[in-house]
């Protein structure tokens, strides 16, 4: 068995519309190792959530995987049936979304929801499953879980609810957790508690985590490696340290400069001119070329591609853009 938990190869997601086919993801390749947190960062519409949904088999029709492969610990999962995929979700892959209430049923006690999920994916009996649920609640930091296990979701605060969702995602000891903006709806003092929890789980259980977020600060403090997405493609991939401190893609560089810091003042934040293209107007060649100060003829005609680490930029790849 290898240590690669998730491998996505050349993934392409399309949305057929009345006016033509929109390409939402184009040539996305990434992998996550056991015990590793991969951050997937980008601005709204960059395709980061779409990547997570495609992996979870949750693309909203008519969206569909039109190319590429998704492998989970050596098993191909993008070709599984809807039924088979339901078992993988909640079983081998856990999901955490921005709004905890999308994962929790408001009508059922959290304990019952945990027990049901545990029993669905393991052979534990009722009593054992309840003991396991208690243990999980304790592990994710719910104080006095024996008093809380029979409460309903609305009786928990936002931060505690997100902890319950994490417990739910952990029920079947998943190999991979896809967490889409898990801290975005939470207060800053609670955000740090949740990211610390994710890191701890990943370290202690060896779970691979795909952390999708727009917040570079969260990535910088939580992830091991990061993929920066732009217009449905990966613009840059590398260790957090490299991407944050030595960004090589002009988009990443601009993005880093546009973020105000808690330490030190700048008179002006760096600005990237223009805005990200809509899916129906992605420019030829490098999708970033109209906004890029270095763009040359090659950038306007040929798509720069990376396989694994690096920057999808002709300047970074070839040292020239002509």
């Amino acid at each position: 068995m290898t240590d690669t938990v998730l491998e996505v190869r050349d993934l392409r997601v399309e949305f057929p519309t009345r006016t033509g086919i929109l390409t939402a993801l184009d040539g996305v390749s990434l992998s996550i190792q056991r015990g590793e947190i991969l951050g997937v960062v980008g601005e709204s519409g960059a395709g980061k959530s779409m990547t997570g949904l495609a992996i979870l088999g949750l693309l909203e029709p008519p969206g569909r995987i039109a190319g590429g492969e998704i492998w989970l610990s050596g098993d191909r999962i993008d070709t599984l049936s809807e039924r088979e995929m339901e078992n993988v979700r909640g079983g081998r892959i856990g999901a955490i979304f921005q709004d905890p209430l999308t994962s929790l049923n408001p009508l059922f006690r959290v304990g019952d929801q945990l027990v049901e999920t545990i029993r669905l994916h393991t052979d534990l009996g009722k009593e054992q499953a309840r003991a396991r649920a208690l243990e999980l609640l304790r592990e994710v930091g719910i104080p006095a879980p024996e008093n809380r296990i029979d409460a309903y979701p609305h009786q928990f605060s936002g931060g505690m609810r997100q902890r319950v969702v994490i417990a739910l995602a952990l029920c079947a000891e998943p190999e991979l957790i896809v967490a889409d903006e898990p801290t975005t709806a939470l207060d800053v003092s609670i955000q740090a508690q949740i990211t610390a929890l994710l890191r701890q789980l990943c370290r202690e259980r060896g779970t691979a985590v795909m952390l999708v977020t727009h917040d570079m600060g969260v990535i910088a403090e939580t992830a091991d490696r990061v993929a920066v997405m732009y217009a449905g493609r990966i613009a840059e991939m590398g260790t957090v340290e490299d991407v944050v401190r030595r960004p090589r893609h002009p988009y990443t560089e601009g993005l880093m400069g546009s973020i105000p810091s808690m330490h030190g003042d700048v008179a002006e934040l760096q600005m990237i001119p223009g805005s990200m293209p809509r899916l129906d107007a992605i420019p030829q060649g490098c999708a970033f070329n109209p906004r890029c100060a270095h763009a040359g003829t090659r950038c306007r005609t040929e798509v720069p591609r990376i396989n694994g680490t690096g920057a999808a930029c002709w300047l970074a790849l070839e040292g020239a853009t002509e």
Binding site: E43, S44, G45, S157, G159, M160, D187, V188, S189, I190, Q191, A192, Q193, T195, A196, R199, H214, D215, M216, G217, V218, A220, E221, T222, V240, V244, G254, L255, M256, G257, S258, I259, P260, S261, M262, H263, G264, D265, V266, E268, L269, Q270, M271, I272, G274, S275, M276
Partner: protein, 320 residues
């Protein structure tokens, strides 16, 4: 601060909300009336041409202050004194969806304040101004003919910023103006707001939950917790020498891109319910410095302690 410097002053400002259950439930379940003190005795002044930022976590009362300042709410106690031209106070709201009329084209939405304030403006000048404003906020003049629903949340917020700027304001109340925007768009808007402030001597009341944004924008920063200002200081002092334990914990908790710290210890506990805030200092259940006095008595900002910049008994003990 000299009184005449201040364009706006809040004095012992209070806003309470009645959040009781309906009358019948109260009678049947024998529940008392419940009052929520959203803003609970707040004092501040804003100097002309400067930016006062209010920062704090969700529900601490920031938006309520914005609504009190702009007159959308009446104070339940205390007062607001505005020494500027009331026609030139504008507000940018937190929620870009609720604040734009869905049946109006964007051009009309943006032109509206201008048309009201200066009805003599010609259609050509109005159009040119709308084009200019759209460009300033990163949209295109062709967007003037579209309806708000054609835009993303971020783009709608830019439209409301353009509308606020159209009225040629002197005082802007900005409630989370960039919270809905992507960081690269946020940078464009923050830079723009700073430039407008320089060019036209604007005064901002700038509300945000994001301390790094606040650091970038503010001259002075007020930190709120459960309806009260626990600390208020010039920006540089606040970041160099935070006085309140809550401020210190916030500064230590927030992840930072440029100086990441993976061994950060998150702040424990949660913000308590504002309906039944803890007795004494409402921060005491989470405070590492709390001692017996904090559980019974409420700390206030005291001019003898750090020039009235902090409401904390521990800070009083170490006063300078």
């Amino acid at each position: 601060m000299n009184r005449t410097d201040a364009i706006l002053e809040a004095v012992a400002l209070e806003r309470r909300f009645d959040v009781s259950a309906p009358w019948l439930n109260r009678v049947i379940e024998r529940k008392p009336r419940q009052t929520l003190r959203a803003v609970d005795g707040v004092d501040f002044q804003i100097r002309r041409g400067q930016t006062l930022a209010i920062v704090g976590e969700s529900g601490c009362g920031k938006s309520t202050i914005a609504k009190l300042v702009t007159g959308l709410y009446e104070p339940s106690g205390g007062a607001i004194q505005f020494h500027g031209d009331p026609n030139r106070m504008q507000m940018i709201f937190q929620d870009p969806y609720a604040s734009l009329n869905p049946r109006w084209r964007v051009g009309r939405i943006i032109a509206e304040p201008l048309r009201t304030l200066r009805p003599e403006t010609s259609a050509v000048d109005l159009g040119a101004r709308v084009d200019e404003l759209l460009r300033t906020v990163g949209l295109s003049p062709s967007d003037a003919s579209k309806y708000p629903h054609a835009f993303s949340g971020g783009q709608r917020q830019r439209i409301s910023i353009a509308r606020a700027l159209a009225g040629d304001p002197e005082f802007l109340v900005c409630d989370e103006p960039t919270s809905a925007l992507d960081v690269s768009v946020q940078a464009q808007v923050l830079n723009l707001m700073k430039q407008l402030q320089r060019d036209f001597g604007l005064t901002y009341l700038f509300i945000s939950h994001d301390l790094s944004v606040v650091r970038h924008m503010a001259d002075e920063i007020a930190v709120m917790y459960l309806g009260r200002i626990v600390e208020i200081q010039p920006k540089a002092d606040l970041f160099e020498r935070p006085l309140h334990p809550y401020t210190r914990m916030l500064l230590e908790t927030i992840p930072d891109l440029k100086v990441p710290n993976r061994d950060r210890k998150p702040m424990g506990g949660e913000v308590p319910s504002p309906i039944a805030p803890p007795k004494g200092c409402s921060f005491h259940p989470r405070c590492p410095l709390a001692f017996d006095r904090c559980m019974s008595e409420r700390p206030v900002r005291n001019a003898d302690v750090h020039q009235g910049r902090v409401a904390c008994f521990a800070a009083e003990e170490t006063r300078k």
